[in-house]
Assembly symmetry: C2
Homo-oligomer: 332 residues x 2
């Protein structure tokens, strides 16, 4: 059982999950290679029952024969069976850990990565994203749906087998509220979408663009917080991921595959995080533009300065990072 707790000094919510880890030895890394992978085909019984799968028509749930498989997280940070209660304030503020936390297993084989799977498989993953957005946005108590990916243990992945995660929360996260506020302010002032204008600027400057195709553009942001940070945006102004067209779906699969291939070549298969920012569930504010932020984890990104200020120190100019990624020679 987990709960949302709000810090009074910085007004931020934390999810305090059930006290599974309290002994120091619990924080020592485990030798994962010696364990059986619960995400591999054939080990379906090791996960909670699947909530969705792309699978062969002749197969039932929780057996082999799937291409993408969605299961509740075995150790969920948030749980849809919790009762949603109004937050209680007794000096400190607390709220039950109601929400959802799913794992999207990106393929049946252990050694897949976003750069070595087929475009067809990548499209199935993206289609799964869309379907899970649609599923959870049907719950009126869930205000926000976030899909993320942690790749590599240094990036926070506890299992090696390639997977994404979906979180649905009863509140709109602070980072999203900030982006909504800034983009609304810009929209009111300039009668224009901030994200569309940034895309235009990057296209005209060309120094930070890594890659683009008909429907998407990827660039290293002007004030990149991390070496080789990348923003991936749809060129069409759209606030919800689930509203992308069939054409955009396949264009996104294409640009993602090339982008992660370039990152892996240039940086030797780096650990990374990405997350997809969309507008709050069932809303389509005219000023918001969904996007993916990709953070390669090349070094310890947070020190006392970053925690204390919120300012990051980045030793690689985004112009240089974009150049390195553009210059990667891909196999023909």
């Amino acid at each position: 059982m987990s709960e949302f707790r709000k810090d009074l000094l910085n007004q931020k919510w934390t999810i305090v999950a059930s006290g599974r880890k309290t002994r120091p030895s619990d924080f020592k890394g485990e030798d994962e290679s010696r364990k059986i992978c619960s995400f591999c085909e054939g080990n379906e019984k090791l996960t909670p029952p699947e909530t969705f799968a792309f699978r062969d028509a002749t197969t039932g749930p929780d057996v082999p024969g799937w291409q993408v498989r969605v299961v509740p997280n075995k150790y969920p940070a948030l749980d849809p069976s919790e009762i949603l209660l109004q937050s209680k304030v007794d000096f400190y503020e607390v709220m039950s850990g109601f929400g959802a936390h799913e794992v999207i297993i990106e393929g049946p084989n252990h050694d897949i990565s976003l750069s070595n799977i087929s475009i067809d498989q990548l499209e199935k993953i993206l289609k799964t994203y869309i379907l899970r957005y649609q599923h959870w946005s049907g719950n009126p108590h869930l205000k926000y749906i976030l899909i993320i990916k942690n790749q590599g243990c240094f990036a926070g992945a506890s299992l090696e087998h390639s997977h994404s995660q979906l979180f649905a929360t009863p509140l709109i996260p602070a980072k999203v509220l900030e982006e909504l506020a800034f983009s609304e302010e810009y929209y009111k002032k300039y009668k224009s979408c901030l994200y569309c204008d940034v895309i235009e600027r990057e296209k005209s400057e060309q120094v930070r663009v890594v890659l683009e195709n008909e429907c998407f553009i990827a660039f290293c942001p002007y004030a990149s917080r991390f070496p080789f940070e990348i923003y991936l945006l749809p060129k069409r102004h759209l606030s919800l991921f689930e509203d992308i067209s069939k054409r955009e779906e396949s264009q996104l699969a294409l640009i993602m595959k090339e982008l992660f291939t370039r990152l892996n070549y240039a940086l030797d298969n780096p650990p990374y995080n990405y997350f997809i920012h969309v507008s709050p569930a069932n809303t389509t504010p005219p000023f918001y533009h969904w996007h993916i932020e990709i953070i390669p984890r090349l070094s310890s990104t947070m020190g006392g300065f970053e925690w204390g200020t919120g300012i990051f120190i980045n030793s690689v100019k985004p112009e240089d990072a974009a150049c390195v990624l553009r210059d990667v020679k891909l196999d023909q």
Copy 2:
């Protein structure tokens, strides 16, 4: 040469430092043990000239005979010789990397830590903090002075020899602005200091308190973002660290030594970050209360969920963490 760049989408400043690292191999860890430590006594010529030291009266600068030594960072994120320019906006906003970045070497021997040095030595370190705050607050262009410590390479320390760092910035960092805003709002509403009230609450509940003495209290915050996170606060309402009394100085040394000893026993010498939050340079707003935040780095703290939401998932209840730290049996 570095510069402050502001991101348009999240309105956050980043310091983009000179492009020292661009090749992938630059991000591979170096075997530090094979190098000569430039912070050790006898190697004073390997650092930039010292800006302050507690040293034997018979010795001159940059030679052995010191107890605490302050030098400019060899690879400064910010530089006082940069010209401070008004920020320029040409779609994106940029500002020169004016500021200060110093290293406070906490003792002449390589193997010191905050838990194995004498109280006398710890007092000299804290006295050095005070003197450097006073030094940099004399520069009217510097709006904020932050002292931090990164302990261990996993916590972002690039050198093993125990040291703190001081940053002085021409702007007030976002995290500090937030705390100022929240505490001012509370002060206006309740005619009381938010931090003083949190201390009272923690003292009355007692479940999250780790340690206290006459002048200081250390507790695991109610909404701890990280396992074993600790807030260390002076009981006396005071907004600037440099205004602590002689008595508080020695009480702070005592509580810090015990606190880090307990952390090291309980968590096997964990890497950690701490930072000192004070009010902006030369200001003493009645609602702000300086404090130290200590973040043990027990696991990869940031994944896609944390980056995307600003919400942390903490698997250790602060009540349990405080209990573990209180229960440590110290050597007699």
